[in-house]
Symmetry: C2
Subunit: 319 residues, 2 copies
């Protein structure tokens, strides 16, 4: 890419803080992690027409989301995000102003969480826009894994579920943020601008919980991952799944959105029964809801409101 | 993506070593950097039809290159590569076997340099294949920057220049590795499988040199970057530029390939005149050639063999 665009990007993004010895512009960044030698590292890729559409026009929010979903992974380990590497493939049909708008979103997300952008790559794309973010974080003394669930644990989630996938459905209908009703807007913003649960992740990792992950593909699929890695099963109770009133008023099948819808980026945890109430109080005013139990039978099931028990269906696939 | 493909990928790549506390499969990796708190971080993206073509058919080498070019950035800081995050966007027209061949290349590159693959993302691509690698390394006591060049320094490079871009030209003509002459094959392999100068980078950083970078866009463009960041100029001598005999025999204009051709991934350094001979001997049997001098006039020039001095033309743009 032209050094000119790269310079404009450098002028926008936060590149230095006390821990960043060398920022963007050299062969690599040099970041000091003296206070904690355990580095958390994660990466996510967003691709046009797979994760977002250009026609949505929300370039600023796209940049924010690219950073926020990586921060969510750091949060799911109870860690603190420190620095990100952002690579972008720019198709010829994008205007420079649109690319810089993406970087404004990236930068604001970074500033909100006091992280730096320490490097990346800027290339031409032969076709679609791609944003690839790698993020480094600092681990706390404990980092709950997906493999730690134990039989008898309470399964719990932060926040509410299903808004993001219903928001995606509204966006796919061509509804724009500026024309949306207040209720629609809330769901669309859940899709466009997920809020990573960094503080909640740190609090829960100190309780500690036994297993934790962020919900990116729906609890149907993600809880199955925890169960597989922990060699256990789970029973969820439909009546306990936290669903927003706006989702109930808009979605055709709110419970399906809540279970199979992706990208909520809430935290899914399993926790000793006697620690649940302590955790719930510690997270206030954030909602923390017991939705099920870890079981020994290695199946992942849902008990419907009518008492019927079904195998939990799987989650979200992109478009 | 399907968990099934992700599992096959996990089975191939090296995921754990003494420093990797948590590898692929959780929200983030946890990597211990106790021995050195200064982390090097870099990222590069490769896109189909921008950096490679599917018709080349060299999927294994593509995977290797994606890792090797990031290792080259770590080498250019005199560091030691430790772990990589690999994200890939897979178009529907690629066979699973081709994707796994890419990961075999990624894995062999990682093993050759004793690094782990600690995470990444695997997504569907709406169109072209994209490979995005972020790499973490451990810094040495010194890490030569691009901004350290001083007036009077010798400008020097490792290896030979221009082979990779000439190899690209041969690939673009549709020549296949298996049908290439020995000479053509050497140039094509320089393009398909760059050799990062990790040991040389460490040796040079300890000498120390004053500025160092790896040559990804040709010395024309890359030396200009060192000069801009160091607020100096440079004079290169055409007769000193190291050019392979095979490049001379095949290329129409070998000196142009050597100066404006990209992706050689050799190290470009500036070094005190009285340290050059020590460095040259320390790098043997690797070629280390003085090709110019750092000047005060802030221009980047080339003295041709006939004595004429011209402004150094710029380097490589992708297809």
């Amino acid at each position: 890419m032209e050094d000119d665009l790269i310079q404009k990007i450098k002028d926008i993004v936060p590149t230095c803080d006390a821990n960043t010895i060398v920022g963007i512009g050299d062969d690599t960044a040099v970041i000091n992690f003296k206070n904690n030698p355990n580095i958390l590292a994660t990466a996510d890729m967003l691709m046009e027409n797979v994760h977002f559409r250009r026609s949505w026009g929300e370039f600023y929010l796209l940049g924010k989301k690219a950073v926020m979903q990586n921060i969510s992974d750091i949060a799911a380990m109870g860690g603190t995000p420190v620095s990100a590497l952002v690579s972008i493939a720019v198709p010829p049909n994008y205007a420079e102003s649109e690319i810089l708008e993406i970087y404004r979103g990236i930068s604001d997300a970074a500033r909100e969480h006091s992280i730096t952008i320490s490097g990346g790559d800027t290339i031409k794309s032969s076709d679609k826009l791609v944003i690839s973010v790698a993020m480094l974080g600092s681990a706390g003394d404990t980092y709950p894994l997906r493999s730690g669930a134990k039989v008898g644990d309470i399964v719990a989630v932060t926040g509410v579920l299903g808004n993001a996938s219903e928001g995606l459905r509204l966006l796919e209908q061509g509804i724009k943020l500026e024309n949306a009703t207040k209720e629609e807007r809330k769901l669309m913003e859940a899709q466009l601008l997920p809020v990573p649960r960094v503080n909640a992740g740190r609090i829960l990792s100190k309780i500690p919980v036994n297993a934790m992950m962020d919900i990116s593909d729906g609890i149907g699929r993600d809880l199955r991952r925890i169960c597989t890695m922990s060699d256990v099963g789970a029973m969820l109770y439909e009546e306990n799944i936290p669903i927003d009133d706006d989702l109930r008023s808009i979605a055709e099948n709110p419970i399906q959105s809540a279970i199979s819808g992706g990208e909520d980026f809430e935290l899914l945890v399993t926790i000793d029964e006697d620690k649940f109430e302590t955790a719930r109080r510690a997270l206030l005013p954030l909602n923390f809801t017991a939705i099920g139990k870890i079981t020994a039978d290695k199946q992942v099931k849902l008990q419907r409101k009518d008492g019927e028990t079904v195998e939990l269906y799987e989650g979200f696939s992109h478009f």
